[in-house]
């Protein structure tokens, strides 16, 4: 073995032998992997390197973006008119609903004051686009065209018009990686909209299915129930639709029911997405109540 390496050393010219070189590189890789696995300290390296990779990703996205533009500009008049009509009627319906929502919000605010609980903080939205780029084939990751420059931060929720899509995992200067709620390593705290029953929805690796493994057999949940974010994980704002329950199997022999749900958001179809901020600019995991509790706990 040593002679083989020594022999090829001449071919490589001067410098350390390939064995030494590869050992050093493997050692370096192991260090990088460990540091990256322990979270955080390599974010700067990653975002610097993303200056190289982002143009590549943009280039890959270019044809599908161009195709979309082209099909928009080539659409004929009748099609545009009918789309316009549909959008107008939808807008009318939505603005009617918003009128009611505003009065409800006022009422909610008054009731919360009566209960002496803190006012809810409003949210700010920013529209972003997903790049048509295929990342890890075995995981559900997407790339957003907004990054640090636009104030995107780690853990930020990602929505589309119909519901929660996922959260931001890595932020570069111009783009950000996000994990979808159906990724097998993702979990999102939810509650049943009908009765406030709280649980956790896990991703399955199947883009059209979530799993609710922690509900007992006698839990009050049935197919068709809407699951909304409960806001308990301090990551997602409260009250956004996540999924609709499709199947509830109560198995007499088991402690927990087998419950499946279908994501409300169009996870593999939507290109336009929304990023959410709290109106006061703080991250969602900032909870003054929690800090008070910590202080109280640490005080005496």
């Amino acid at each position: 073995m040593a002679t083989a390496f020594g022999g090829s050393n001449k071919r490589f010219g001067h410098g350390p032998s390939p064995l030494v070189r590869v050992s050093l590189l493997v050692l370096l890789s192991v260090v990088i992997i460990t540091v990256d696995y322990r979270e955080g300290h390599l974010d700067r390296v990653r975002s610097t390197l993303s200056l190289i990779t982002y143009p590549i990703q943009l280039m890959v996205d270019l044809p599908s973006a161009a195709f979309e533009r082209a099909s928009e500009s080539l659409a004929d008049r009748r099609q545009l008119l009918s789309e316009n009509r549909a959008l107008r009627s939808e807008r009318l319906e939505l603005s009617a609903r918003v009128q009611r929502l505003e009065s409800l919000e006022q009422e909610n605010e008054r009731l919360r004051q009566l209960l002496q609980s803190g006012a809810r903080v409003g949210e700010r939205l920013l529209a972003a686009e997903l790049l048509q780029v295929s990342l890890d084939p075995f995981r559900h990751r997407v790339l957003v065209d907004k990054g640090q420059r636009d104030g995107v931060h780690m853990g930020q929720p990602l929505l589309d018009a119909d519901g929660v899509m996922g959260q931001v995992t890595k932020v570069g200067p111009f783009g950000a990686n996000a994990i979808l709620i159906t990724d097998p390593s993702h979990a999102i705290p939810v509650e049943v909209n009908r009765n406030g029953l709280r649980t956790i929805a896990l991703g399955t690796g199947d883009i059209s299915r979530l799993e609710l493994p922690y509900l007992p057999n006698n839990a009050d949940i049935r197919p068709g129930d809407l699951l909304v974010t409960s806001g308990l994980g301090m990551r997602f704002p409260r009250g956004y639709p996540v999924a609709i329950v499709t199947e509830v199997q109560r198995r007499p022999g088991e402690t927990f029911a087998q419950i499946h749900a279908e994501p409300a958001a169009a996870l593999n179809r939507s290109r336009e997405v929304l990023l959410v901020w709290r109106e006061d600019g703080l991250p969602f995991d900032h909870n003054p109540l929690m800090e008070d509790m910590d202080d109280a706990g640490g005080g005496p």
Binding site: S8, L19, L25, I33, L49, I207
Partner: protein, 162 residues
């Protein structure tokens, strides 16, 4: 040999850039698991043809870029490609003269090593979820080898890369 002026380095880097583009090119969900590992295939060719130009360091750099590009754990592709590269570099003199199908067998072995390291890293960091399709890119990579060989050899001769 290594004293000869480097020529056509741009071609090598452009082809590797092409491999990086191919690896994130959007494909229908059905065939995504069968996408060959283009950067590994291209690196195997260049190391076999020009070991004094493309070496372990190049492979490591490409791997690191690949990690950022696909958002995987930083360093995992870098390590896998570096180890694959050193294996190719030590046996390039023998494999270079093999007939194509035997080379494809060798490529299959190299891609397996590459994938095994990736699986090992993912497994030891608790990120391994879907094992049943991991063989697919290896097999398609082997099947694509003759075409990769043909294309890159054409490029190398056309632009006289040394």
């Amino acid at each position: 040999m290594s004293d000869a002026p480097a020529q056509g380095r741009g071609v090598i880097w452009l082809s590797l850039l092409g491999a990086l583009i191919l690896i994130i090119w959007p494909l229908p969900d059905m065939i995504v698991p069968f996408r060959p590992d283009w950067p590994a295939l291209f690196l195997i060719y260049w190391i076999m043809a020009l070991p004094h130009r493309v070496n372990v360091g190049t492979a490591w750099c490409v791997g690191l870029i690949l990690d950022v590009l696909t958002g995987s754990l930083l360093g995992q592709h870098a390590m896998a490609l570096a180890i694959t590269a050193v294996l190719v570099a030590t046996s390039h003199l023998r494999v270079r003269v093999f007939p194509v199908w035997q080379q494809a067998m060798f490529v299959l072995l190299m891609l397996t090593v590459n994938e095994l390291i990736l699986v090992l890293v993912e497994g030891s960091t608790g990120r391994l979820y879907d094992l049943e399709w991991r063989w697919a890119p290896i097999v398609t990579g082997m099947l694509f080898w003759p075409w990769v060989l043909f294309l890159l050899r054409f490029l190398r001769r056309r632009f006289d890369v040394r």
